[in-house]
């Protein structure tokens, strides 16, 4: 196995707060690597640096061996990095189908195409519909996104990340705010995706994390205090002390 993502010596501060503190982490190809940690540990900040929306103060990020630390966010997407957002980030005024179709359109290279109506492009439409079907939202395709529930938005986030067909998926708390039943659906969905993409999963739901992850890293105050298999992490004293014990 080779690492698809390698992060070394990453640092990021907001004023006095060290959100990322000498962080080292790697995601192997095909691996589902979960990052857990208490609120404010710096999980979302980590993802934002990986997608390029935040600039690290120092450190290196490598994707498939290539240094992408200073690369523009949109260019990273083209290399094969997709993200789902902890706080749902959709285009609310567009239809559900349009949101997904845009993710597919992004894959086509450029969109400096001015003439044909986007809605007439059946290849985008039908693939988007298939993705919606996969996350159980096919019947909502034509609705305005704003009309859907929180849980449905979470599923849209995953459909969009899937639509990117990215090698590496960065999923920021896909289960945030979901009910028991919806969470179970999401776990099934992730299990289905697992192995087909390399995944960096951030999640608070411990049952889900221990059920899905190949490896788990524990982030506390911006620093990774332990990385290992679910069993290793369960047995790790430092982790129990810093994090799991408080549950």
């Amino acid at each position: 196995m080779s690492a698809v993502l390698e992060i070394s010596g990453l640092n990021k501060s907001f004023g006095g707060i060290k959100a990322t503190d000498d962080l080292n982490l790697s995601v192997e190809t095909g691996e589902l690597h979960a990052v857990i940690g208490p609120n404010g540990a710096g999980k979302t900040t980590l993802i934002s640096q990986l997608t390029g929306m935040q600039k690290p103060d120092s450190g290196r990020i490598r994707f498939k061996g290539r240094d992408i630390t200073g690369m523009a966010p949109y260019a990273r997407a083209h290399l094969g990095i997709a993200r789902s957002f902890q706080i749902t980030s959709l285009i609310l005024e567009m239809s559900v189908l349009d949101n997904i179709a845009l993710a597919l359109q992004a894959r086509e290279g450029h969109s400096f195409r001015f003439i044909r109506p986007a809605h007439s492009l059946t290849h985008l439409r039908s693939e988007a519909l298939a993705l919606l079907d996969r996350v159980g939202l096919a019947d909502k395709a034509e609705q305005p996104t704003v009309a859907l529930s929180h849980g449905e938005h979470r599923h849209m986030e995953i459909a969009i990340a899937l639509g990117a067909q990215a090698e590496l998926m960065l999923l920021d708390e896909p289960m945030a705010g979901l009910g028991i039943e919806e969470s179970a659906q999401m776990v099934e969905l992730l299990r289905d995706i697992k192995g087909k993409h390399s995944i960096l999963l951030i999640e608070h739901d411990m049952d889900a994390v221990f059920a899905l992850a190949d490896r788990i890293s524990v982030l506390v105050y911006g620093h990774i205090i332990a990385t290992g298999t679910p069993d290793e992490i369960r047995g790790n004293e430092a982790v129990q002390h810093a994090y799991l014990g408080e549950e």
Partner: protein, 324 residues
Amino acid sequence: MTSMTRRGWMTVAVMALLAILPPVFYLTGNPFYLDLATRLSILGIAAVSLNLILGYGGLVSFGHAAFVGLGAYAVGIPAHHWLYGGMDFLATTSGLVQIPLAVAVCALFALVTGAVCLRTKGVYFIMITMAFAQMIYYLIVSIEEYGGDDGLVIDTRSELPFVNLDNPLQLFGFSYVALLVAMGLVRMITRSRFGMVLKGAKGNEERMVTLGFNVYAYRLTAYVISGAMCGFAGALLGNFTTFISPEMMDWSRSGELMFMVILGGAATTLGPILGSIAFIVVEEILSSFTIYWHLPFGLMLMAVVLYARGGLVGLLRGRGEDAE
């Protein structure tokens, strides 16, 4: 294919009336209304062009009048040299040179200023677009040769094959057709994949960037298209008024264009046209009562923004019909 929406029919009806009524008035001895309709069509093109970036792109440009002014001077300056000499390479009354010049100058100005403005967001974007427009304003004011503050009379209208812009009916016809073309272009662009990116970036920029869209490049392209289109409107306006002055680019003129787009209904095909009609009607009525007509006009705009979201088009919209 879905059948035409209520608003689609509305657009057809409004545009048909605009095509038919003014010439009828003119031929029955009321040339004033034809003039109004010509001005309406030209302002309509400017509003339609602004709608592309403001309505669909969410980019609140407060400097759009600069393109109107530049377009008008691209007609006025060559005509001036043609009559009074100097700058031989520029001297011409040919519309086939002047109009492409207007479009090219405005596209270039949009490219250069847009490249800077689009690095900023929100209020800063509004301020810096306005600052660039004021820059052009003061530049023109400072050039004595072109009349400075006092402006410039265009003695000869642009000469074009097949149309004679000295003929009021033909000038109207040309402006009206240009308006239809502008509406059609913006409609086509906003429904294309390019348009989806532009609209998507308005709704959620971070999402679009994360998906892999270089939002900046798409916005800049829209900005250039919009500026070029507005330059065309400026060239027409110069031919219509035959008098141009820096006042055409004043920030309050940019504000009026914004009013038209927002009042009529941003991000719709018909909105800018309704807004232009409302603007012209209100201007005519209010300015006959008071020179301070901008105040009631501004209050009207606020009322529309507050109580009828979606502008005048929003009032016409049937239930269940969404803005496209």
